[in-house]
Amino acid sequence: MTQDLNEVRLSDGTRISDLVDAEKGIISPRIFVDPEIYQLEMKKVFAKSWNFVAHETEIPNPGDYVTRYAGNDRVIVTRTEDGGINVFLNVCMHKGMQLCRTDCGNTKSFTCIYHGWNYDLEGTVIGTPAAKIAYRGLFEKSKFQLPKARVGVYAGLVFATFNDDAPSLEDWLGNAKFYLDVYFNRTPKGMEVIGEPMRWVFNANWKSAADNFASDSYHTLSTHYSMVAIGITSPDPLLASYGVQVALDNGHGMGIIPSPPKFPMGEYIGLPQEIVEESKKVLSPDQLEVLRRTNIVPGNLFPNISILVGYAMVEGKPVPFTTLRVWQPRGPQEVEQINWFLVEKEAPDWLKALSRDCFIQTFSASGMFEADDAEVFTGIARASQGVTVQEKLKYHYVMGLGAEYEPVEWPGPGKVTPTTYSEQNSRNFFGQWAKMMSQI
């Protein structure tokens, strides 16, 4: 590593490069625990990145809104009359009162309860009670426009950033777009979110969860062994290792796991043929081939937007489901998980309901897979606290380093490892993290 005198240092002089060697996969426990690093992340990572704030189907009609987070800023996401989407800070420009206190709804405007200031769906002040009199004619409404984020929509996913220097969303997503097409926008009408996202809180560092989805298929047969024991997955002990791990631009990463060879569970995630036919109208031949080879996709868009495409066996048939989750940081060891379920708009009602229920049983707050992951992430938080752990120990994300692989033909982009038993994507994730954290 070059000695960069312009590198960010913590208050004790430690550099980020002392804590993370992403190429070698050597990571200090301190990054999962330290409050100073957490505060720095808010500025260097979240405020600089594109943050997922909503799916466009959550705000279909003019006046629809949801209140979300972009990094650790509270924002309002609105749909305007012209069909556009706006994201602006959820704070009154007068004295800082939270402008909108509801989670979602439909409105023509937002009124601050403190002094009655009224804002339209673009965060522009349109009404201020008695302002002429109160301010003795010296009040200029136009000065109080709420800061608006840059908004980008891809594959139905709405992203926002207040970083004017961030690349375009398309450039930020980079080659992840290929996979977002396949897993979130594969039919002419696209996917829709069903219901409201579920939300819950656990005591862990957001990076433990993001890294798990970016890179960790190796844990499946251990953490989730109960799923094998009750017979809802294939009995192949290497079932989660097949397929590829693809390291993508800007720290994004996914694993694409097919049917295990000895127990074929079907192609195209077990989607019904009518949906597969719809996909053929939208996807490129390479994308269709990737979809064909897919059973399960864990993945993560940097920094904290994870995806899971999976299936559950119901009466001997696979029922596919798609979930997207944000690991919303609330502290160095506190995460709010915001969890969405999506399904193709074209799917028949019975499949939408069944897919949703399979998701609830496996990857909701009560999900039989999800619950065991929370036990692990919180355990990492507990175990990483001590002075000696942080000063003398390093964690090892070295799987696949120096390994030789048979070349594999893979029709999608990214740096391909021909097994999902790899920590390539961890090194990619932490590499991006370290790069952003180190920048002055």
Partner: protein
């Protein structure tokens, strides 16, 4: 369908309250299989809708589309099976839970079933945590009389949180 409130001093009220307390005790003592086999009816619908803060603000808003639980007999049994494996890491070691069931009101329906509303305060502590996490809720149940006693035909769990303050819901409510 009309219903008639069961008065607090009627024997039936005590029978229903006893069912709820017995159920709470089974679950607090990790007797999931017994709970499933003795308390749950085969046509069970067990739901816990997601709650949001919306206008009108004085109304409770529960989703009709997304749920923390949306279970039937086979899926509840699958969950019990998971808890019976040696690999139920989320609950092994087990949480220490305490289900306080109060404010029970009972109505007899025209069809002979019983509508039961109860408040529950669940406290939960795991491993070496100091203190407890809490979940407060109202449950709206339909109980049916069978030859093996009262059983749960329907439960809707109306939780008091829009963000659940627990690491998971690997427990029955």
């Amino acid at each position: 369908m009309s219903r008639k409130m069961v008065s607090f001093n009627e024997p039936l009220y005590g029978e229903v309250y006893g069912f709820l307390l017995n159920e709470a005790s089974l679950l607090d003592n990790n007797q999931f299989r017994t709970w499933f086999e003795t308390c749950i009816n085969e046509d069970i619908v067990y739901t816990m809708p997601v709650r949001t803060t919306r206008n009108p603000g004085k109304q409770a808003h529960y989703s009709d589309k997304m749920f923390f639980f949306n279970e039937t007999y086979p899926t509840l049994e699958l969950r019990v099976k998971k808890m019976e494996t040696e690999y139920d890491w989320a609950e092994d070691p087990s949480s220490r839970t305490r289900r306080m069931v109060t404010n029970v009101r009972v109505w007899e329906m025209d069809d002979g079933n019983l509508e039961v509303r109860s408040y529950m305060q669940l406290s939960r502590s795991r491993l070496d945590e100091v203190g407890y996490q809490f979940l407060m809720m109202e449950r709206v149940d339909i109980l049916v009389r069978t030859d093996t006693g009262l059983r749960l035909r329907k439960r809707e769990i109306l939780v008091d949180s829009t963000i659940i303050g627990m690491k998971n819901l690997a427990i029955f409510l």
